[in-house]
């Protein structure tokens, strides 16, 4: 039989990136495009979507039940993996990447693919910045922290203002939705929303484009299957930045 049941993997190593973000290295590699995600089964707890931060790692921010349960796992513990799923980022020659918090996870493999000229990295404070060293190795990193503990004191959007955005053929963005919405507003002003791509986070049950729990208004597109990466254009007149849905399907404001 040729079933697509979750693939069991063992954790080889857990790397503590920050106090709230750990990278889990597993014993199996998955061919993927940067921006694609997997459904991670934490046995006995839940199954949650996670970007692949490399072919055999996921980088997880503690957020609730399932992610907290993962923080109690270590070497030898098992996870189930379905995927990779979704579209991933479009190819480009001269990319600008903009990462906020754990949003750096899908952008690291993009940067490693050698097409990102500049990457703007933001976080609340210095020791919450993700992947600074790895990113430094492969691209030109500019940093902003909300508290000014490293880099520019302020948001990544301020970093954008210092750049000549015209030299990039595409802009790839992943981070907290408020931050992404701010980026979208900025690129809209500059008339380059069509050059931008945003990786969305939505509540997902199936990851397969069937159940409908991740659909966005008003297009009805599925974040898990038609996304998670959407063009800024498409997101302009959408729910993006305004609300999302919880597990029951009820709207909740951002």
């Amino acid at each position: 039989m040729d079933d697509n049941l979750p693939v069991p993997v063992s954790i080889l190593r857990v790397k503590k990136e920050t106090s709230l973000i750990h990278t889990f290295v597993v014993d199996r590699s998955f061919a993927f495009s940067p921006g694609q995600f997997v459904m991670v089964w934490v046995p006995g707890v839940d199954e949650i979507p996670m970007a692949l931060s490399s072919e055999n790692t996921i980088t997880v921010q503690k957020a609730g039940d399932a992610t907290s349960a993962m923080f109690n796992l270590g070497k030898g513990d098992k996870l189930g993996i379905r995927g990779p799923f979704g579209n991933g980022f479009a190819k480009g020659e001269k990319l600008l990447a903009i990462a906020g918090g754990v949003g750096a996870a899908p952008l690291l493999p993009l940067a490693r693919a050698d097409c990102v000229m500049t990457l703007l990295l933001g976080a609340r404070t210095e020791n919450e910045l993700l992947f600074v060293d790895q990113l430094d190795e492969c691209t030109d990193v500019l940093i902003a922290t909300d508290d000014g503990s490293l880099g520019l004191h302020g948001f990544v959007t301020s970093l954008m203002d210092d750049l000549n955005l015209g030299i990039y053929d595409r802009i790839a963005v992943c981070g907290p939705e408020m931050m992404m919405r701010a980026v979208l507003a900025r690129v809209e002003e500059k008339g380059i929303a069509h050059k931008t791509e945003f990786s969305l986070h939505r509540y997902m049950k199936c990851g397969l484009g069937v159940c409908g729990s991740c659909c966005i208004d008003p297009s009805g597109l599925r974040v898990c299957r038609d996304g998670p990466v959407f063009s800024g254009d498409l997101l302009l007149k959408s729910e993006f930045g305004h609300y999302m849905r919880d597990a029951s399907g009820r709207k909740k404001p951002l």
């Binding site: 979750p6 069937v210 659909c215 599925r222 597990a247």
Partner: protein, 295 residues
């Protein structure tokens, strides 16, 4: 292949754009995704099943892909009453609200929220993996009759969706008919399970789930055929339909229309694709095909 002429389609009191409906629980959680499926060719859409209280559903994994089907245990996640807002923009469209409850009063309550907004109701008396709901009720003929009655009195077309996980589906079909159902929908998923041998545990968060897709098609055809022999209201066939020929086969078994769910996994444009194969100007009237494999 047998092809049909597309004329006006009215089934169980509901006017449809064609014979193909989107099945309950498939891309049916938001008004936008229902609208998208209508624009992609569905002749009608059934919403996600809505119940008396908001529910988050079961812990994951909720859905896995098998070689020839899907196995799911969503756990009836739904926004409950708030869902009424989702479908306001779809007034006048062929939208069927799938509803569930734990007793006739709950069915009546949920129906009251939607009765002026939808073309019909579909009663989920068949989900095989929701404690106290769905098949927990749908296997008891007396409860099926009373729950159906609680909704059919609204005067809105009331379809009843049946579970195959019973000894005799015709007994349940007759109970729904006696309760005033305007049509039967056959069938919901087969109660099933897969175990991850690597993890040594059932693969679904809820352990038990429902099997849908091609694997169940022969069971669905059998149920429709049995119901056609024993009931007198229209039947909507559901379960594993993926091609125009599958649609014709369901109709020959006795279905007046069909619902399609899992096939959306392989191809979100499945309705357009099937329509292109199913209909042509010189096709047969559906009346010549429906139930023609009997006798």
């Amino acid at each position: 292949m047998v092809q049909l002429r597309l004329g006006p389609v009215t089934v169980g009191g509901v006017v449809l754009d064609n014979h193909l409906l989107l099945a309950a629980g498939i891309l049916g959680t938001t008004g936008s995704s229902l609208a998208r499926m209508l624009s992609l060719g569905a002749g009608g859409v059934v919403t996600k099943s809505i119940g008396p209280h908001p529910k988050d559903g079961h812990a994951g994994p909720c859905l896995v892909v098998l070689e020839d089907g899907l196995l799911n245990a969503m756990g009836l996640p739904n926004p409950s009453k708030e869902f009424a807002d989702e479908i306001t923009s779809l007034a006048k469209k062929p939208v069927i609200a799938s509803i569930f409850g734990g007793d006739p009063a709950e069915f009546a309550l949920v129906a009251s929220w939607f009765k002026d907004r939808v073309a019909g109701f579909e009663l989920n008396l068949s989900c095989p993996h929701a404690e106290g709901y769905g098949a927990a009720i749908g296997t008891d003929p007396a409860l099926v009759k009373s729950c159906t009655h609680a909704v059919s009195v609204t005067g809105v077309p009331t379809w009843v969706k049946l579970t195959p996980n019973v000894t005799d589906i015709t007994e349940i079909g007759k109970a729904a008919e006696a309760g005033g159902a305007s049509a039967l929908v056959a069938i919901n998923t087969l109660k099933a399970m897969r175990i991850s041998t690597g993890m040594r545990r059932p693969v679904l968060g809820n352990r038990y789930g429902g099997l849908s897709g091609s694997a169940m098609f022969p069971v669905a055809v059998r149920c429709v055929y049995e119901l056609y022999e024993s009931c007198n209201i229209p039947i909507i066939g559901c379960g594993g339909i993926a091609t125009a020929d599958n649609v014709i086969e369901m109709m020959m078994a006795g279905a007046s229309a069909v619902e399609i769910g899992s096939a959306v996994y392989n191809e979100v444009k499945v309705f357009e694709i099937i329509k292109a194969d199913l209909y042509r100007k010189e096709g047969l009237p559906s009346t010549e095909i429906i139930g023609c494999a009997h006798g």
